[in-house]
Structures are given as C-alpha cells and as structure tokens.
C-alpha cells in the first residue's frame, strides 16, 4: 500500500493544488466517517425509542389482561359466595343433626326442600360454568356459538341481531375459537352499550387462508384512529383486552366508517394456521 520512490526533494515543492486537494479529500473522508457514526447512533436511538414504546404498549396490554382476569375472578368469587354459598348453607340447615328426631312428614318436607335448593345450586353452577366456557362453542364450534349468541340478543327484542357464516367449513383450533368468541362478545357488548344502534349484523367469509369476520351496525361507532387512541389510554380496558386477545392469535382488527350508508364496520382478520386450512 505504500509507494516509496527513489527520488527525493524538499517538502517546499508541494503545489497549492495538491495540498488543498489532499487536505480537502482527508476532510471529506473524515466527515463521511463521522457522519456514518452519528447517523448510526441516531438510528439506534430511534430504534431504542420504538422498542421502548412497543415494550410499554405490551406492558399496558398485559396489565389490562391481568385486570380483566382479576375482574373475572372477582365476579366468579362473588357468584359463588353470594349465590351458591347461601343456597348450600340453607340446604345444610334442612339436613341438620336434628332431622332424625323430627317426625316423618317434617323429615320428608325438609329433604324435599334441601333437594330443591341443591337443584337450584346445580343450575347456578352450570350457568357460571357456561359463562366461562359456552357449551355450544365447545361442542358445535364458533359458527353455532355465534349464531346462538346473536339469536339470544335478537330474542331480547331490544335490537335486531343476525349472523351469517358463508364459508366456515373447517373449524379453528378450540382455544382460538374461544378467544375469537370472547372478542366478538366484547365487540357486541360495546355496540350494545355505546352505539345506540338498531341492528347488528355479522358476516363471515374466507380470503386467502384468512378468516374474515365483519360486524355492521347503524349506531355510533369508532374509526381506526379512535380505536388506536383509546387503546393508549389508561381506561378503555375492553378495547385493550380485544387487542391483547387478537395478538395471541395473530389477528388484526379494523374499525371503519361507511359514510355512504351511515354504517360502522368492524373487521376481524384472523390468519389460519397450516393445520386449520379450509382447502
């Protein structure tokens, strides 16, 4: 790399062009190296910021998920303590130690009452169990569970609710169906609570190995920007929960407003895994 030549002469012979050119080139090279270093540092800082934001968002979703779980447990504990507990305590009173000392008719009456209370408790526990895992979903899949859910809403008479599955030939994995069902429940619940709409309609179809579920309603709805803004707030637990559930199944959600028909649409985009493909 070094080129030493045999001729020698004084340094004073260096021409200004050569001197300025060389100094200029060295300055340019140094500036380039410094630019690369600072540019990379800036990019890395920016990446770090994005990572921190992502991590903060994940924490927020996790907190929302934990809070929801705690609320669910509290509700379950309250149901068991306030409903099942007193019922079983009453049944126990009917079946106390004195029962053997009572006359036959009273004994029969007490046993009948206790049996009635125990039946009531069984129904109560079944209801609690069904709220945790709907039997229709477990036995017949998402399509039946969603149709059943919409049918119940419609039967209440307060809103016109309908659902139509066009192309649900292969079921998703049970855990995925449960997550999706919970998301749909939360979405419909939000619509019932906040939208003041007169109808809800759900449609399903498949596009390129993706399950698409779309809910239309004619009330007040959200746009995607509003949804993203709400999920960043400390409240908006339900929306955060929807987001964290969808993240588990790698799904996406899109809120949009159809201005031409004064409708709001919510679209769920769920990719199918290889072992759940419909084709």
């Amino acid at each position: 790399m070094i080129r030493f030549l045999f001729i020698q002469s004084p340094l004073a012979n260096i021409s200004p062009v050569l001197f300025l050119g060389t100094v200029g080139m060295i300055l340019l090279a140094t500036a380039l190296i410094l630019f690369i270093i600072f540019h990379q540092r800036r990019v890395m800082r920016y990446q770090q910021q994005i990572q921190d934001m992502e991590s903060e968002h994940q924490k927020m979703l996790l907190r929302a998920s934990i809070k929801l779980q705690e609320e669910e447990r509290t509700r379950l504990a309250a149901d068991l303590h306030d409903d099942a507990g007193p019922l079983l305590a009453t049944a126990r009173l009917y079946l106390n130690e004195n029962l053997v000392n009572l006359d036959k008719t009273t004994q029969m009456q007490n046993i009948f009452n206790a049996k009635q209370i125990i039946d009531e408790t069984i129904t109560l526990i079944r209801n609690i169990s069904h709220s945790l895992m709907p039997p229709t979903l477990k036995n017949f899949g998402l399509e039946s569970a969603v149709n059943d859910f919409f049918q119940k809403i419609s039967n209440s008479g307060s809103i016109n609710a309908s659902s139509r599955f066009n192309d649900y030939r292969e079921r998703l994995k049970p855990e995925k169906e449960l997550i999706l069902f919970r998301v749909l429940q939360e979405l419909v619940n939000n619509i019932l609570k906040h939208s003041n709409s007169s109808f809800i309609h759900l449609t399903q179809h498949e596009v390129e190995n993706k399950l698409i579920l779309r809910i239309h309603h004619d009330g007040k709805g959200l746009t995607q920007d509003e949804f993203l803004r709400f999920t960043k707030f400390k409240d908006g637990l339900g929306l955060k929960n929807i987001q964290s559930r969808l993240r588990v199944i790698h799904g996406d959600i899109f809120y949009e407003e159809d201005t031409s028909q004064s409708l709001f649409k919510v679209t769920l985009d769920i990719p199918r895994e290889e072992d759940e493909t419909a084709n």
């Binding site: 080139m25 270093i37 890395m44």
Partner: protein, 230 residues
C-alpha cells in the same frame, strides 16, 4: 526529519502485524487475514524498493506490480464485505477490466519501468467508491451494535483515509512536465497517509468480535449481524 518520517512510516506497518499476532482472536476472520497478508506484502515491497532506491536501481516496476496485486486483494476484500450480489459481481468485473488496462498500460502503451499514475488513480478511485458503497450499505441496515465496534469499520476507514489522502497527489504528475519534483511530493503524502492507515488497521486488529458474538441476539432477530465473523 524526512528520514524520521520515512522510518516511522515503514515501522508503523509492523504495528498492525504485531498486534495481529498478539490479538489474533479468531482464525475464521478471513478478511483480517487478507489485510494482514497485504500488509506483510507491502512491508516486503517497501523494504525491497527502499534498498533498490538506495542502491540507485529503478524500483518502479515493483511498485507497478504491487498496484495490481493490491487492487486484486482489496477487490476480493470488498466483494466479501459488501453484501449486495450485484455489487459483488460489478467489483469482480471491474477487477478484470482493470487487469486488462494495467497490462495494456504497462506493456503496450507505456513501460513497466515508468511510473504508472493512471492505473494508480483508477485503482484509488475505485477503492474510494467501494468505501462509499460499504458505508452506504451500512447506513441502510439497522443493527444493535455501534459501527465503530466492528473491525470492518476501522479497516474501511483506514482504506478511505489513505486513499483520500493520497488520491489527489496522482493528478499533479500527470499534468506537469517536471516529474521528478512531483513524484517526491507524493512520497510525503503517502507516508503520512500510511502512518494513519496503520494506526487505524491496528485498532481494527485490536477489536475482538468474539465478545460481540457473545452479545448477539437471536438469529431471527432483526438486529442479528450476519457478517460479524467474516
């Protein structure tokens, strides 16, 4: 003073060679080996050409041959360092064309015993271009490691500073008739450039990529650095 600079520049070449022997961490780092072998060769050429110059013999043919070898080795170096396939092919094509040009220039148009400024200008022009391409490529990739923690960065910086520092000196001899004076100007610039280059290469050889490898993230991560071991 002149002799001091001359000897510092020659002995400064031994610094990276020595450091390479002491801190040679990973024998799989073939790019470090390429630069190391080039340094050894340049020392041999320097010592030989200095002896020839002192004894009044023409050493220009040695320098001319070294130019071709140097460009070939550095082209190999850059073709491994720059990841874009098309650029790699272009680098090899440029090397092929340069070799043809060098043969024509030294054996048909001119003589190998006359200093070939044109070949050296073209060589350094392409080396500068390759350095820019490398930095351009690096500026587009996101990594979780500071660029100055990689030995490749210091090697490229060494080449860039050396080429930038000596590049302009090639123009003067071509445009003037007084070759003797201008050739000597080149000598000083070349020696200073050489000292800086050797310091930067020494820094590159001091960097241990094994430590960086330990801190590498998962292979699937966007921050995984594929060419850390090269």
């Amino acid at each position: 003073m002149k002799e001091i600079i001359q000897y510092i520049s020659i002995y400064s070449t031994f610094l990276p060679i020595l450091v390479f022997f002491v801190f040679q961490f990973n024998r799989k780092q073939k790019l470090k080996w390429v630069i190391f072998l080039l340094l050894v060769l340049s020392v041999l050429v320097d010592v030989l050409s200095l002896k020839m110059a002192n004894s009044g013999r023409n050493n220009i043919w040695l320098v001319s041959i070294f130019t071709l070898i140097e460009f070939s080795v550095l082209s190999f170096f850059f073709s491994h360092l720059i990841k874009r396939k098309r650029t790699q092919k272009v680098i090899l094509l440029v090397l092929f064309l340069f070799s043809i040009f060098w043969i024509i220039q030294n054996f048909f148009i001119g003589s190998i015993n006359k200093y070939d400024y044109l070949s050296q200008t073209i060589e350094f022009l392409f080396l500068l271009l390759y350095c820019l391409l490398y930095f351009f490529e690096k500026s587009k990739i996101t990594e979780n490691i500071f660029i100055y923690n990689t030995y490749q960065f210091w090697l490229i910086s060494a080449i860039l500073i050396y080429c930038a520092g000596t590049f302009f000196s090639f123009f003067t001899p071509i445009n003037t008739s007084d070759k003797n004076t201008d050739v000597v100007i080149f000598e000083y610039i070349s020696r200073f450039g050489s000292i800086i280059k050797n310091i930067l290469i020494t820094i590159a050889f001091c960097i241990n990529p094994d430590k960086l490898l330990k801190n590498q993230p998962n292979k699937n991560s966007m921050y995984y650095i594929k060419d850390l071991k090269v």
